[in-house]
């Protein structure tokens, strides 16, 4: 059992599952958005704000940003723990990796909060 601190969850299985579920949600969101713009290529301000003003759409968008957060956290964490390691770049790696991981988490949380602020500010 390998320990991890900054991983989204300490279970590889949970991370693996979340990565797949979030990918499905993002695919659905993407298909919806592409479909919306295919039917209505240049929506007016009223159409656009009424779409995002509905509770269903707000929840769908919230689900999408949470999926991006989860997906990015797991994915970027994976990349950082692959390449920013003591084996590859020397003893400073741990401090650099911790900084990058915490910065990544901060950016992700910032985006989530900002999106919620936008969605419920309409």
């Amino acid at each position: 059992m390998v320990k991890s601190v900054t991983s989204l969850s300490n279970s590889g299985l949970s991370n693996w599952m979340l990565q797949r579920i979030s990918a499905l949600i993002l695919t659905a969101y993407l298909i919806f958005m592409v479909g919306y713009f295919a039917v209505n290529p240049s929506p007016s301000y009223e159409q656009w704000s009424s779409l995002h003003g509905s509770m269903a759409m707000r929840l769908f968008s919230l689900l999408a940003i949470l999926s991006i957060a989860v997906h990015a956290w797991i994915g970027i964490w994976c990349v950082l723990t692959d390449y920013i390691t003591v084996r590859l770049i020397g003893p400073k790696a741990t401090a650099i990796r911790m900084f990058l991981q915490l910065a990544m988490i901060a950016v992700i949380l910032f985006y989530v909060v900002w999106t919620i602020d936008i969605l419920w500010g309409i």
Binding site: M1, S4, S9, N10, S11, G12, W77, T81, D82
Partner: protein, 234 residues
Amino acid sequence: MLEVSIYRYNPEVDSEPYMQAFSYDTQGKDVMVLDVLEKLKTEDPTLVFRRSCREGVCGSDGVNISGKNGLACITPLSEVVKNNKLVIRPLPGLPVIRDLVIDMTQFYAQYEKIQPYLINNTPAPAIERLQSPEDRAKLDGLYECILCACCSTACPSFWWNPDKFIGPSGLLQAYRFLADSRDTGTEDRLANLDDPFSVFRCHGIMNCVQVCPKGLNPTKAIGHIRSMLLASAA
């Protein structure tokens, strides 16, 4: 004459590794890569490599042949020589001790982690623990692994985290014991594997399957471990 380029490194003498050019007269025969190495060693006795059974059973002579890991003893020149050139390097990712000999400590440490032995605390029967032919068949494609390390040293996830990711070879063996009907340690074995590194660093790129000299499929075994973890999870 076949042009052969071989990785040379003797840490006691060389400041860094270099490629040495040799030439080899095939006399029109399609010999194995190991035959070439043996012949070249008679010309230059300082050339060092591991070998033992010379028939693909012991797994000692795993090397990187023209960019692909394989056993020198069962790889014919016709499969690997391109433009009359043969390039032989040590297996990538693990420290080189000398020339084509690598330090496999990390590889064995991962093998040890998966407890590669039968765990069964029930009283031993008088003769042996029986297994149905169907249960025995589940071990086919798993027990044949000879631990040559061709797969694990072809895996980028193992290159980056050889101390944390068990690697295709170890995971194939882990599944060999998870799938064994006589083993009662399944729950503990699975619990030891459910972290973000041990199993889940496998991203399914299947380099291991491509290079396995015994034709085994570690990616499939890893998929089975994932399914078992999923089935055992709440």
